[in-house]
């Protein structure tokens, strides 16, 4: 099923033996920057730190030093070209299995969903004949029943009859409240007045322990990881990960799939269906998903972790658009007056008045995308009330899709998830997002617009190769290795304006505005006009903050070096002396540290012994790749992980542990380019 693993050492050996790469490099070789030592006549002697970085970025592992040395020699002798080396790296199993899913899905791989899997976790009494129960207290033995649980169909367990309830499917909320199914995020936590739910037939809604629940969540995350991994390993268009009926699922993920059908069909005896799972490969397989209505499935978009990450349809769309178009929630400009004027105050769960929201100024910037998008997924109700597909609710006919706002329609498709997905991945925003993901992962905040454009040029409509994107991104790393940000030009600094006075725009500043701002801010009455000969102090300070921290230029934040040049040009016009120094430190430096590997990669490097890092609860894994940097937090996590990793091997003396810690804490394990 999976292709045989080809290690990096083997790749180097194959290349040294004179074999050419499996496929020719897609990218043009960039000009190499030789190390200071003499280069071989026909090759290039690359900085070993660069080669190490390329390998880590592409495989999430520290390359052995002999492998690195062999690669370096091959490159120096001309037997191996850098593009060929990178081609081999991105063809590796590690890239498909560990790196590409991380690049595309980012935080989704470590996130818990609010409504999947089921929130019911049983407690049990101690002893040889435990009693399973829900709630605070167990029942008496006389109040139990014997049931074959889904996790062990050949044996019976005792469970309180109140926690079983095999014929109850609805939570039955008080009159006036929305109906709630037992398989839903809220059923396990419903408030007074509702009808309590049980585990259902074969206890399908319950887990025997928190560990079993956590394992199921891992399986659902593995469905995301495995699906992208399968697509990349087979060099299929990455679009397939979002559109295919099939996903890569292990047995538990398949069990979760099947529960939904059992719930909608109110299947009183699901045991035969559950028994079929025994033949499902425990490690998972690429397999189709049955459809209860046409177009029900769309790659990872209809995996439980995506569908039920958040409790309602609209929030679900914000989850879906993140990996799909790199669109993030933004409701800047919302005012109390604007919201209170929306007559239907039933916005979140009923999504009533959505047409109004989707067209309302400001609101439209998100809600045209969210609210028209959620019509395609209507067959999947709000997860807080119903955690499975309901075919009768799926909409009929075709519907439109919008990107930026209500004035940006992008065509129509059948109103189902598959229709949505096919239309969504055909948009240029999809290719731009994939390119940004790979470029940002490899280049961090040093990514320039030109580099991003070069990576994006590798994307093909409905034929985007993750390997090609990564290949180009790594070539850009090579081309920019050791490159220094250009120093700001030493133009004569204008004298700062007096507080309260408007600030005249000097020629150097006008050039910056012309280059980066005036496309949009040139006399457009809907926006701040930056083309005027003077700007107010407040406008200039707001502009500095917007540019310094990447809010502007909109959707095209400047790379660090250009941001610095921009703000350096304006600061002397606003402040002098210590204030100018403080402003420069804040706006130009921005407290920004060196770009870092993603934290998942950092933990892999620290735990290089092969033992997996213990699970962490951390914010850093939820942060975009272009914001990853050596923060105090990442430095602390890396150092703590180093201490823990050095304790993982038994029998070390304290002196050996101390040496191990000191060796494991390295800036090279944090910063993707420490120079």
């Amino acid at each position: 099923m999976m292709r045989a693993r080809l290690s990096i050492a083997a790749l180097a050996a194959v290349t040294l033996a004179g074999c050419s790469p499996r496929t020719a490099p897609r990218a043009t070789e960039p000009p190499a920057r030789p190390a200071a030592s003499a280069a071989a006549p026909t090759g290039t002697d690359y900085d070993p730190e660069l080669l190490r970085t390329l390998s880590i970025l592409a495989t999430r592992r520290e390359p052995p030093s002999d492998e690195l040395a062999a690669t370096r020699r091959a490159l120096a002798s001309g037997q191996l070209a850098i593009a060929g080396y990178i081609e081999r790296l991105v063809a590796s199993k590690e890239f498909a299995a560990s790196v590409a899913p991380l690049v595309i899905l980012r935080h989704m791989l470590s996130e818990d969903a609010l409504a999947a899997p089921s929130r019911f976790v049983l407690s049990r009494t101690e002893g040889d004949r435990p009693i399973y129960y829900l709630g605070d207290k167990p029942c008496k033995p006389a109040q139990t029943v014997r049931v074959h649980p889904w996790w062990d169909l050949d044996h019976e367990v005792s469970i309180c009859s109140e926690a079983y309830r095999p014929a109850q499917w609805m939570a039955e909320r008080p009159k006036g409240e929305a109906p709630m199914d037992c398989l839903s995020a809220l059923a396990a936590f419903q408030q007074n007045g509702g009808h309590p739910c049980g585990c259902g037939p074969n206890l399908i809604r319950c887990f025997a322990s928190p560990d079993q629940s956590h394992a199921a969540a891992n399986s659902l995350r593995d469905e995301l990881r495995g699906t992208v991994g399968y697509v990349v390993e087979h060099d299929l268009p990455v679009e397939r990960a979002f559109t295919s009926n099939e996903t890569f699922r292990d047995r538990t993920a398949e069990f979760v799939q099947r529960i939904g059908k059992i719930e909608i069909e109110r299947e009183a005896n699901p045991e035969p269906v559950l028994r079929e799972l025994a033949s499902w490969p425990a490690e998972g397989q690429w397999a189709p998903r049955p459809e209860l209505a046409p177009g029900q499935h769309a790659g990872i978009l209809t995996s439980p972790m995506m569908l039920y990450n958040l409790p309602d349809r609209r929030q679900r769309m914000s989850i879906i658009y993140d990996p799909l178009w790199c669109a993030e929630p933004d409701s800047v400009g919302a005012t109390p007056e604007a919201l209170i004027s929306i007559t239907n105050g039933n916005l979140q769960f009923d999504s009533a008045g959505w047409h109004q929201l989707a067209a309302k100024p400001l609101c439209t910037n998100c809600h045209a995308r969210l609210d028209y998008g959620m019509q395609f997924f209507w067959g999947y109700p709000n997860g807080n009330l119903q955690g499975f597909f309901v075919p009768a609710t799926q909409q009929k006919g075709k519907g439109p899709l919008y990107v930026r706002d209500i004035d940006d329609p992008r065509g129509e498709a059948e109103l189902n998830p598959h229709g949505f997905a096919e239309l969504a991945v055909a948009q240029p925003e999809f290719r731009a997002c994939m390119a940004r993901d790979f470029a940002a992962y490899a280049l961090g905040d040093r990514m320039t617009r030109e580099q991003l454009a070069a990576v994006e040029a590798e994307a093909r409509p409905n034929a985007t190769s993750a390997r090609a994107l990564m290949h180009r991104a790594l070539l850009e790393v090579v081309a920019s290795w050791s490159g220094r940000p250009p120093a700001a030009s030493a133009a004569a600094a204008p004298a700062p304006a007096e507080p309260g006075r408007d600030i005249p725009i000097a020629p150097a500043q006008a050039r910056q505005l012309d280059a980066h701002c005036l496309d949009c801010h040139d006399g457009n009455q809907a926006r701040v006009d930056l083309s005027a000969p003077t700007l107010s102090r407040a406008t200039m300070i707001a502009m500095l903050a917007d540019v310094a921290f990447g809010r502007m230029p909109k959707n095209a934040a400047l790379p660090q070096a250009e941001r610095r040049s921009f703000v350096d040009a304006f600061i002397p016009a606003v402040w002098s002396g210590a204030d100018a120094d403080a402003a420069r430190s804040y706006f130009a430096d921005g407290m920004v540290a060196l770009p870092a590997y993603r934290p998942e990669v950092v933990l892999d490097l620290v735990h290089a012994s092969g033992r997996a890092a213990p699970p962490w609860r951390m914010l850093e894994a939820f942060v975009r790749s272009d914001l990853q940097q050596v923060t105090p937090g990442l430095a602390a996590i890396s150092s703590v992980a180093a201490i823990e990793a050095c304790h993982a091997e038994q029998g070390k003396s304290q002196a050996e542990i101390d040496r191990c810690i000191a060796n494991a804490i390295r800036i090279a394990n944090l910063a993707s380019n420490p120079h």
Partner: protein, 395 residues
């Protein structure tokens, strides 16, 4: 009126800052902005009778804030700041930056204030945040378990480590910091971050173990917010951090469903936590002075709640938030600002803080500007151009 409080101008700048974010969005009508049915338009939800409003000598409180009655002479309430967003993520960025136009990656207000510390190990630590939007270039901390997983976070890991090995790690970080050539601001910032983290490890190793007493409140077992506030106190007492942000309750204040059930419970829990916190600040000392004399505490959600109920007996999002301020710098014992019959904030006089036609519309930027000035900084050089709330600091 200003009993127990010296003039702000005669006080030294705050030593510590504690920002508390009741995560998900507090419904102000239950606490900071109580109303009667007569005060509001039809359809605006006032889910308690007028007799339940808590009267104090200083200002009325919503029924859920009854536990704060003893502290009213030392609290200032401001209704309501616009935070320029109707979603949690951008609302959180605006709230932590105290700037109504900001994006993830912008230094938070507490990052800026933390960089102005005297001898605390690190500038700012963040506990319990619910969204990645809280990430900033100086981020250090651990998020909530909701969606981030019920696994140990950084602070949990640090608690378990051997002090000697923390020292070894600190030495290694200092070595690596020294190895970084100061060729760019990013290199310099990185070296500084490594030294800052090394200082944290060293001081953590020298500090008494974190052994928080239980806070005996209903819901404490569910949320452990008392434990997180104990952590904040411990960090300040041991001079580990100048600034701490604590986000409370995961995201359970986000009551799109069953608002009338959950908000009173959670706001009541919040009030009990603050009651205990303010008491503890008076008991704990740093350099011989109670923390209550050295600490600014400010409390506000990342988003507010829509004034009308939805069909699920819940309330959706609303882009304005009430704040509580505690500390000797504030003109306490009063409620400032106000909301109209639709519970939309009214403009105020910057001199009195009272509603005034044509006056100033409060925004979170004003909090940033005011606290930076309190700290002796020029807010403008950090991009803060909000209004200084002179009525709040009596200056």
């Amino acid at each position: 009126m200003l009993e127990g409080r010296a003039c702000a101008a005669s006080l030294s700048r705050p030593r510590f800052y504690l920002q508390i974010i009741p995560s998900g969005g507090v419904d102000a009508v239950f606490g900071a902005d109580p109303k009667t049915v007569r005060d509001v338009e039809r359809g605006i939800d006032v889910p308690y009778p007028a007799k339940d409003i808590v009267t104090t000598r200083e200002a009325p409180l919503g029924p859920a804030f009854a536990a704060l009655r003893p502290w009213m002479s030392r609290i200032a309430i401001v209704n309501s700041f616009r935070q320029n967003s109707a979603n949690h993520q951008s609302g959180l960025v605006h709230s932590t930056c105290c700037r109504s136009i900001s994006v993830p990656g912008t230094p938070t207000l507490l990052d800026v204030l933390g960089a102005r510390r005297t001898d605390e190990a690190v500038g700012a630590i963040t506990i319990g945040t619910a969204f990645a939007a809280a990430f900033s270039p100086k981020y250090l901390g651990e998020p909530t378990t909701v969606q981030f997983g019920d696994r140990p976070g950084l602070l949990d890991h640090l608690d378990k480590l051997d002090p000697h090995e923390l020292g070894v790690a600190a030495s290694a970080m200092r070595r690596e910091a020294a190895s970084l050539a100061a060729t760019s601001s990013q290199s310099s910032v990185t070296a500084s971050n490594l030294r800052e983290t090394a200082a944290l490890f060293e001081r953590w190793a020298a500090s008494p173990r974190f052994a928080p007493p239980a806070w005996p409140f209903k819901y404490e077992d569910d949320y452990k917010a008392g434990r997180d506030l104990e952590r904040a106190l411990w960090l300040m007492e041991n001079r580990l951090a100048r600034c701490v942000t604590v986000s409370l309750t995961g995201q359970d204040f986000d009551t799109h469903v069953w608002n009338s059930i959950w908000q009173p419970r959670l706001s009541g829990y919040l009030a009990s936590l603050l009651d205990r916190l303010f008491h503890e600040l008076g008991q704990r000392k740093v350099d011989g002075k109670p923390l209550s004399e050295q600490t600014v505490v400010f409390v506000g959600s990342e988003i507010g709640r829509f004034p009308r109920l939805n069909a699920a007996d819940g309330k959706d999002h609303f882009p304005q938030v009430s704040y509580l301020f505690f500390g000797p710098w504030f003109a306490a014992g009063r409620t400032y600002g106000g909301t109209d019959r639709q519970m939309v904030a009214r403009p105020i006089s910057l001199r009195t803080g009272k509603p005034e036609a044509g006056g100033h519309t409060l925004a979170v930027d004003d909090i940033g500007t005011t606290l930076l000035r309190l700290d002796g900084a020029n807010p403008e050089v950090y991009g803060y151009t909000g209004s200084h709330l002179g009525f709040l600091t009596d200056s």
